[in-house]
Amino acid sequence: MPSFYQIRTSLSIIDRIREINIFLVCLLLTTFLFGLLSLYSVADANFDPWARNHLIRFVISAILFFIISIIDIKIILKLTYPLFVINILVLVLIMFIGTETYGATRWIRIAGVSLQPSEFIKVSLILCLAKYYHSIPIIEASKISRMIIPVIITLIPVGLVIIQPDLGTSIIILIGAGSIFWIVGINYKYFIVALLSACASIPVGWQYLHNYQKERVFTFFNPERDPLGNGYHIMQSKIALGSGGFAGKGYLEGTQSHLNFLPEMHTDFIFTMYGEEFGFIGTFLLLIIYLSIILVSFNLATKSRSSFGKYLSCGLIFLFFSHVFINVGMVMGLLPVVGVPLPLISYGGSSMLATMIGFGLIMNCYINRDTILAKEGFID
């Protein structure tokens, strides 16, 4: 064991709590408050049905965040694989006992709470990959033999989610996994190959897309194609954002949203209603907050001495980023409509929980930044 590191293997609970980065917590809290504000507006100035639940879920998620932040990173490391296997099993299970909504089987009811296992698999997979790359000599990451396992453990959840069907989540899973592959230094040639083969497989994969997914892609390339059908949502979303203007129509004053021109206002299109009411000032501020969360988190990630912590944090940050980017890009007509929630703002318990677990893990890595982690498995 190298001895020139300042070893801080054991930290008391108090020390750990003290180490929690208050700035990041404040940013997360602020984002959540924007969400609460928006959900209150979506329900026409009512706490019910969304804002109240959102608050409750945040409290639960925050507690979980707090617990995950301060537990020993070794526990996390130990639980990584079992949790991943369990998560995969649940994904398989919902093919049989899941709740079907809008033609997709995504939810499972556990003790009266509806959960979306695909939200958790995103975090779980990142954990898994981080641990895997932590356990192998990093110079061997580009070796074909070293790539088989990570590719398989990535494709299993992607496959399970895509048959739900949930294109958005499977894309997010791929992007999250990709970010880990990138960080661990896999030769960029592989990324080019993967990208090219993905492009080549589009015609094949196209056949397996559901009609509504194909429509969404068509609509993305030409929103005016069918302004009352699939293009309608994107047109209305752009109208809402555009009519919000610089200063917005005012809180609770959004006409596009309150007169129901927008779809899925409490989930995927919440950014639109926020943008209509708060204008460019509001949306720009929110983007700055999101970017701050990302940059602060990166700053925390780089402090981590263990490669596990670094990989995990960076992967989770990129996961968070891709949610924001895809969601905001989608409502502005930059990206096709795929069901991706806006973290901490969209209504959805599983998403909220997964996001806060993610930040809990980032915080945990930061708190345990100096902890030396033994490489399991393939120790040199």
């Binding site: 110079i139 809402a240 555009g242 610089f246 006409t255 460019f280 983007l287 980017f325």
Partner: protein, 626 residues
């Protein structure tokens, strides 16, 4: 071991560098992508703000047209001829009706006797917005309407509502004159803002048609905020509709009704004219129809009856049908003769027929018969008018020629439209030589002059024309402008500019002749005279609609009552009254009534009596006369 360690730590340092570089690149990429989002937001929310603002405004607002109320049509004293009354309806809004069939069953349980064409209504509903109210049923009684109101909670989405509908209190009496309204035709809908109203109606005949633009008013408009499903959220602003202008007619509603009642069971027309102002106090046609029935769509049977009936109830016989004036033309022929210097005291012998040379017949002559087979004997002008001697007028006509007769008739208003008002008015025909050459391509024949002298042949006139011509004959020869729309005119000013239509001396003489025809023994309408303070005078006319052959003449002319209805003679009467100070002229036409003296004159008597008894407007005219 050491060297390996050094090597591995060097290696480690390199990979560490690589990883840090990759992380940095990722961070830069994310920041870059965020800038794209920011730029896109700036583009949408700042650069394109105006475009999207107007799109958003279009989204959230809609216009609803507000139907104006149609103007009223009133008579000379302001009594209502056409107005709008409340129409109790049941409407339904598809977007508020959970299950339309369920709602209809509930409706049916409240008003079981009301039948609704569900299929038709659902078809209309399919075409319109989900939240636009659609008429389920109208013309509910107050009782049914209150029943609906009491049970409105049971009827999801169906609710009672008060609309307006056109109402004609006079029903049949004014049907042709006032007209009726019904839904816009395709032609009328073109480029017409009114066609966008849910319940647009336009006048189809009569005043309702001719004054449609005045009556219909101006459409209002309200701007509403709606949601994505078209449900009304609130009203933003509104421009009220403007009620159409009221139209006052010169008609007297009571007289009009009285006239219509006199025509009960008959087919014909009565026109009454104020001889000084040209105002028509009555313009009746019978049989008629109930104009109220046209409003909400007439039943097939009703429509068939109206269009196929032999008595043509849809035709306004006062202006839209013309008839040979028969002997009622005689005073005008007489006037033409007087103007040509004919001596009214000269006697012409009537032996029952008048013969002219005609080489096309066997005998070489052609006979023109007087209605009195035995003849009237020697007649002067007054006697000839009084007894309506045909031979006298054959002689007269031949002497002065058709063109002179035509000129006088036209001068008094025949052969031209009376009113500059109705689309459906006919001009009638006043034939002359040029007319025949132009219209028929043949030369005028002398026999045609003879029959024109007794108002037969090509001569055609509407009852409204006959009343106008009579009015100008007896008002001292003043040209009057006929009116059906009331205008408050200054009579004194009008009188100055008017030149007399004929020599007063001649006109006074003709008035004497008409007086004799009604009020002196031997007159054709003597049996229909009025005795008392107010008297009237006039000329009968019997116009043939068939040709009587020589054979029939020899065997005895078939009596009218033995002919089928459509081959009987028309009965006509023109007249004026009161005698001592004339104020009104009248024309009565009874289609296939048999004769003027038998069918038309008795009705004229009743109408004149009614006018004198009721003193209709006599006071008003005295005021304006002064």
């Amino acid at each position: 071991m050491i060297s390996k360690n050094i090597f591995s730590s060097l290696d480690k340092a390199n990979t560490e560098k690589l990883i840090n570089r990759r992380v940095a690149l990722l961070t830069i990429a994310q920041t870059g992508l965020f800038s794209i989002l920011g730029a896109r937001l700036a583009y949408l929310q700042i650069y394109k703000h105006d475009d999207y603002s107007s799109l958003s405004e279009d989204n959230r607002t809609t216009h609803r047209l507000l139907a104006p109320q149609r103007g009223n049509i009133v008579d000379l004293s302001g009594k209502i001829l056409a107005t709008n009354i409340e129409n109790y309806q049941a409407l339904f809004v598809l977007g508020e009706t959970g299950d339309i069939h369920k709602a209809l069953i509930a409706f049916n349980s409240i008003l079981p006797e009301k039948k609704i064409d569900i299929i038709k209504i659902l078809e209309i509903a399919k075409k319109s917005s989900k939240f636009k109210p659609i008429k389920l049923i109208e013309d509910l009684t107050w009782g049914e309407f209150s029943k609906l109101n009491a049970n409105v909670h049971k009827l999801q989405g169906i609710y009672p509502s008060v609309g307006f509908k056109r109402y004609y209190p006079g029903k049949e009496a004014n049907a042709h004159l006032v007209g009726y309204v019904s839904s816009l035709s395709e032609n009328e809908s073109y480029n017409n803002p009114f066609s966008k109203l849910a319940n647009a109606k336009s006048g189809k005949i009569g005043i309702e048609k001719s004054r449609n633009l005045d009556l219909r008013g101006q459409i209002g408009n309200k701007r509403l905020e709606i949601n994505a499903f078209g449900r009304e959220i609130r009203e933003l602003n509104r421009i009220e509709s403007k009620k159409g202008r009221n139209i006052q007619l010169t008609i007297d509603r009571d007289l009009q009704r009285f006239c219509y009642e006199q025509l009960d069971g008959l087919s014909g027309s009565i026109a009454v004219t104020n001889i000084h102002t040209g105002e028509y106090l009555a313009l009746t046609s019978a049989p008629a129809f109930d104009p109220n029935k046209f409003y909400s769509g007439m039943s097939h049977d009703d429509w068939n009856f109206l269009t196929k009936s032999l008595y043509k109830p849809l035709i306004n016989k006062a202006i839209s049908n013309h008839y040979p004036p028969g002997s009622t033309i005689k005073p005008f022929v007489a006037l033409a003769a007087l103007e040509e210097g004919f001596d009214p005291n000269k006697r012409i012998n009537c032996d029952g027929s008048y013969e002219i040379k005609d080489t096309s017949t066997e005998k070489g002559t052609k006979s023109f018969h007087c209605w009195k087979k035995k003849g009237h004997g020697p007649m002067n002008m007054k006697e000839a008018i009084q007894r309506s001697c045909d031979v006298y007028f054959y002689t007269l006509a031949r002497e002065i020629g058709i063109n002179k007769i035509a000129e006088v008739c036209k001068r008094f208003g025949l052969g031209a439209k009376v009113f500059d008002e109705f689309f459906e008015e006919l001009m009638g025909t006043v034939p002359n030589k040029e007319w025949k050459k132009r219209e028929l391509g043949y030369n005028w024949m002398i026999g045609e002059t003879l029959v024109a002298g007794i108002g037969q042949g090509y001569f055609l006139a509407t009852p409204a024309q006959l009343s106008l011509a009579t009015a100008q004959l007896v008002n001292g020869g003043k040209r009057i402008s006929p009116k059906i729309i009331y205008k408050d005119i200054d009579l004194r000013n009008q009188n100055k500019s008017i030149k007399n239509l004929a020599d007063t001396k001649h006109l006074e003489f003709l008035k004497d002749c008409l007086f004799a025809a009604t009020n002196e023994q031997g007159g054709t309408s003597y049996r229909s005279r009025l005795i008392g303070k107010y008297q009237f005078a006039g000329k009968t006319g019997t116009s043939q609609v068939r040709r009587i052959s020589e054979k029939e003449r020899e065997e005895g002319i078939i009596k009218n009552k033995d002919l089928e209805w459509s081959r009987r003679d028309h009965g006509i009467f023109i007249g004026y009254g009161p005698i001592n100070k004339p104020k009104f002229s009248i024309s009565v036409l009874i289609e296939h009534g048999g004769s003027g003296s038998g069918a038309a004159a008795p009705i004229a008597k009743k109408v004149m009596n009614f006018i004198f008894k009721q003193k209709i407007d006599i006071e008003r005219i005295v005021i304006t006369d002064a």
